[in-house]
Symmetry: C2
Subunit: 443 residues, 2 copies
């Protein structure tokens, strides 16, 4: 993409209303703009990151056997009366009346809707197990929306729901999502630690939060230093209950707890390996058995024809909030440092002198070759000062920068900079091209 045709309204000044670094940087980098309290428009650069994250989440959901569908944003109040949650849910639920005075609401979550949908469309216990997920905008009418997309009102969430005929199978599906979450966050470049959690208004007695460590996190977390090891992708057979359970056990054996769930005994055992930090919740999974299926009358005839109440769980990932979490975990004084997997573009190409014939020829040609090779490239071909171009590229945090200036252009060399390490090297155009394309899988 040529920057001269793009829409990247970067800001030099830090916006006054932004308190945390991810919010500041998303505004400054031209990724989002607030359109109402806690409601944001996603500008082209921000949307690209959102889509990259969605794609990774989808792939890992599919790998775990979850089926994608899409439920609407608006729901009927009557549906929530079936579960008893309509009156129980507080003022965070946005309640709406349509032109016929029928009560609707903007869905904050979808347990009721998916329960009704699957209840009305399955015939037999043989249709289970199943996990369904969707990625849809939700609304929670936060009393004080803040921190940008970290605590917005309209937010994008992946929520999955599992359906099983008994607790053992239900636990297997829970573990499927547990492992899918480990892999999803790892691919996003995040170390997310699963921690035992309270279940709150969702219900049930088995639940884990996935928490990313970050200085600006919303809660205190305590963990064993083993959690500081880098993550790796887990090759799991999702249809093997024992293997999955053992992976899950491995990942809850090292101590990690939020403030509410601290265990003095285990902390004493950890000794000087105990660490404290702040954390951001990026995922939350629940197994709640028949909490929704019972009141909503969802049973399926079992092998003997007798109705079996269905065991359910739900599994959320805050997708829009993940952008904030990733930036909190990966930035420096100059701006964002995107992990490769979610970077909006792989390469930022800077032509320092657009009026220089040599520079333009090299830059144009390299841009076209990179794009043809499937390398997403943002090409700064604008008539701007070099300083502004450097600052913009650092701010938006693409993994690689290629700088083409008149002196180098004469010799056929460019400067290649790695955004994360800051390392620069002056190399031939050909070497730069080879380095940028080597081992790069087209996304």
């Amino acid at each position: 993409m040529r920057l001269s045709r793009y829409f990247l309204p970067v800001m030099k000044e830090t916006p006054a209303d932004a308190q945390i670094i991810s919010h500041k940087l998303m505004l400054r980098a031209g990724m989002i703009r607030q359109t109402a309290a806690g409601i944001y428009a996603w500008l082209p650069l921000g949307l690209r990151v959102l889509r990259r994250i969605e794609k990774i989440i989808r792939e890992e959901q599919a790998r775990a056997g979850a089926l994608e569908l899409l439920m609407p944003t608006l729901q009927t109040a009557d549906l929530w009366r079936e579960s008893g949650r309509y009156d129980a849910y507080g003022p965070e639920m946005l309640r709406i009346k349509d032109r016929h005075n029928r009560e609707l609401l903007y869905g904050p979550t979808n347990e009721e809707m998916i329960t009704a949908l699957i209840r009305d469309n399955l015939q037999s216990y043989r249709d289970l197990p199943r996990i369904f997920y969707h990625i849809q905008w939700k609304f929670r009418d936060e009393v004080r929306p803040r921190f940008g997309v970290m605590r917005g009102r309209e937010f994008l969430m992946k929520d999955a729901y599992s359906f099983d005929i008994d607790e053992t199978a239900g636990r297997h599906n829970y573990n499927r999502m547990f492992v899918a979450y480990l892999n999803s966050f790892s691919r996003l470049g995040l170390r997310a630690i699963p921690m035992q959690a309270d279940t709150g208004p969702i219900g049930g007695d088995l639940s884990h939060e996935f928490i990313v460590l970050a200085p600006n996190g919303e809660s205190d977390v305590f963990y064993h230093s083993n959690w500081e090891q880098p993550t790796r992708h887990i090759e799991a057979d999702f249809d093997d209950p024992k293997a999955l359970q053992s992976i899950v056990n491995d990942h809850i054996s090292d101590y990690a707890a939020t403030d509410e769930k601290r265990d003095p005994l285990r902390e004493a055992q950890a000794g000087d390996k105990l660490r404290q930090s702040r954390g951001i919740e990026v995922g939350h999974i629940f197994f709640f058995g028949t909490k929704y299926s019972k009141p909503m009358g969802f049973t399926l005839p079992g092998p003997d024809g007798k109705p079996i109440p269905i065991q359910m769980g739900s599994y959320g990932i805050g997708i829009s909030r993940l952008l904030g979490a990733i930036i909190e975990a990966s930035h420096d004084d100059n701006g964002i440092i995107w992990p490769e997997a979610v970077a909006p573009y792989h390469v930022g190409l800077i032509n320092l002198r657009i009026d220089d014939e040599n520079c333009r020829a090299i830059a144009d040609s390299l841009y076209q070759r990179l794009e043809a090779a499937g390398i997403d490239t943002l090409y700064d071909d604008r008539n701007e000062r070099g300083g502004a171009k450097f600052a913009t590229m650092d701010l938006i945090g693409l993994p690689w920068q290629v700088v083409i200036g008149p002196k180098g252009a004469e010799k056929g060399v460019v400067e290649l900079k790695n955004r994360a390490s800051g390392e620069k090297q002056t190399i031939s155009v050909e070497d730069a091209f080879n380095l940028l394309t080597a081992g790069h899988q087209q996304r």
Copy 2:
């Protein structure tokens, strides 16, 4: 995808509340379910088609130079007061109050929001021309929602907005979208005819509707028989105003008009070439100059520093409604006939006897090879009668069916059926594989 692990709740009976064929077939084929009046959940099969359509629309928007962003579903009433439309808009606008009693609304369209967003983030006339689009859920509180996704309340729309410093440039952007629409609909397997249109509440004096011919269409249309020729993809240079204008002229030279816009003179000229049909509106484009920029104070400093009021247009495609339109245009008594470009899967693979070793070996192997070759395949590996399997495959309308039965399996042959033509051939497994993969571009 193995059907034994999928979610495809097909219905044998035609649902009583569905009046038109597309609505009936989408329900029967397990693509959608209504969750409230005019509000639908998209089941896995329906969602896949929706995504295919989105992808084609995106590609053609990008080709025409439009930039994707994403605006939220909820907007403030104050924003619509800036343009004067808040009070003018009727009861189809869903008006909402949040917990602080602030007035919100569920966006039925986004002229106001995009105008404010771009106004607040551009500096100079040099930042134009631009076209922005997003694909987002909208809400119109129809008094009598009906015809399934054709006239729903919560619906998915692609809406684009153009920004220019003068009418000539504005007209160029209008033509960009005009040609992008011709190509989009053509790729979707639709003959959509552009017809001069009234502008209604959007405003302006230049407008075209894109209308698909279908017996169940909502309006009468009249057109020259030249429009019955097949469409072809137009290779256009979108940066060449003259070339684009000439393409547009070519496409408005043959007579075509809705009931409100009939021209007796041109109909007389058409003589026995005049055709009449019903039509479904799938796209609508508008050029309305300064209708929004003026009241909302969107000007940019021109070359002489004086403020120039910005010329705008807007360009909509009803994406969820397109599924209905495609089915109305492409079905038979047995079900849907998907055009290749939007088919949820390319091949339906039927194993007639899952307890037959031979059948299963051939079916499993062919399924794996097709998937590995990038051919999306829906594999009916369920323990069901053959008749039910045939009926399901015809109903959901995948372009190709491969049937593996015990007699053929002994000889290593399968039956290959083309859903559109109904042609069947008995061929070797190898020939079937080659035929299905030949020339198929991975989507």
